[in-house]
Symmetry: C2
Subunit: 203 residues, 2 copies
């Protein structure tokens, strides 16, 4: 594609490096910025630079935090529970349900040999240390990983690593989503939802 | 949505101001930047700021250009032809076909009373001036506007404005796209393609 200006070409190249944004979308965004106020572009640039330079990760739970009052240190959290997740959006999703008030531990990914990610690239050793050095006893580890081969491998590896600790290891329920039709559920999910059936309560 | 950090929230708010990008996509982009190199974010921010601050529009044809050698002033262009388009991407699209070597004139939009855009908001008067003051005679105006009500209104308005000049006003052909099936074409397009049929040449 031929661009009318070198500046547009450079901006399009940079924007299209972002995931899920191609050259056409990048051009549309660049032209949008050209049409809107100069201060809009300044604010956007500043927010990105600030985000990248000032964001810190909590040394304990590895959740993003730029202050010292990370959720893992606030008092209202139940400190006997740790929910292990792949990444920050998972923490947000679980927090938004309002159904969990324990601590989190972000692994920063899942074991995936194809992508060159082994257990050492993840915060698994850090999880073991954290359980060992916890001021209060950790009673339960909730594995909230994706139901993929990589997620299952990671769950299996973590379970093996933690076998010497006296704690309950649980995993979030897999089953038919609420509002989902049985007819359209895949066999594996349906099979698993039957295997892990629970006692019906009419409350 | 609750964000784990104020910095993420600010970045998400700024990114989601861009057209077609919602909060979820914005969060995905922000987390991508956090994972990639700091220099990537710097380059992106710089490219955006530079684009916004240094981009200039050619005073004659209103095409984006940050140097003085706008396409409307380069010698290889046929200076007796002006193609009138809505915006810069249209210029790029027409240039990429390699089928047009005349000049361009960017209106900056089309007449759209609903959006509060009248003829005075567009570069229509500038087009009239340009034809009047052209060093060489302008022989043809090619209207390449969208086949929408707004595009048609604009084409009609421009045609009226230019009626005193001795020039040919043409419009790009509307018809069945190449590779398109007659069966699936809408009636208006098919009807128009029959009305504006041309002599078949077996070249």
């Amino acid at each position: 594609m031929e661009y009318p200006s070198k500046l547009i070409e450079e901006a399009v190249n940079e924007i299209s490096k972002l995931p899920g944004i191609g050259k056409k979308t990048a051009l549309r965004l660049a032209l949008h910025l050209l049409k809107s106020k100069e201060s809009d572009t300044e604010q956007l640039s500043e927010a990105l630079i600030k985000l990248r330079k000032e964001t810190r990760y909590c040394g304990t739970c590895h959740v993003i935090s730029h202050t010292t009052d990370c959720t893992c240190r606030t008092i209202k959290t139940d400190t006997s529970l740790i929910c292990v997740v792949e990444d920050t959006p998972d923490v947000m999703a679980i927090q938004n349900t309002g159904q969990y008030n324990g601590m989190f531990h972000v692994l920063g990914g899942v074991i995936s040999p194809i992508d060159g990610i082994g257990p050492d690239e993840l915060k698994i050793e850090s999880l073991v240390q954290r359980i060992q050095n916890a001021p209060e006893e950790i009673k339960e580890i909730v594995l909230a990983l994706s139901p993929t081969m990589e997620g299952d491998t990671t769950a299996f590896y973590i379970t093996k690593k933690l076998k010497d600790f006296n704690l309950k290891i649980t995993t979030i329920a897999r089953g038919i989503p609420i509002g989902g039709e049985l007819e359209y559920a895949d066999e594996v999910t349906l099979g698993r939802s039957i295997m892990t059936r629970s006692v019906y309560s009419a409350d």
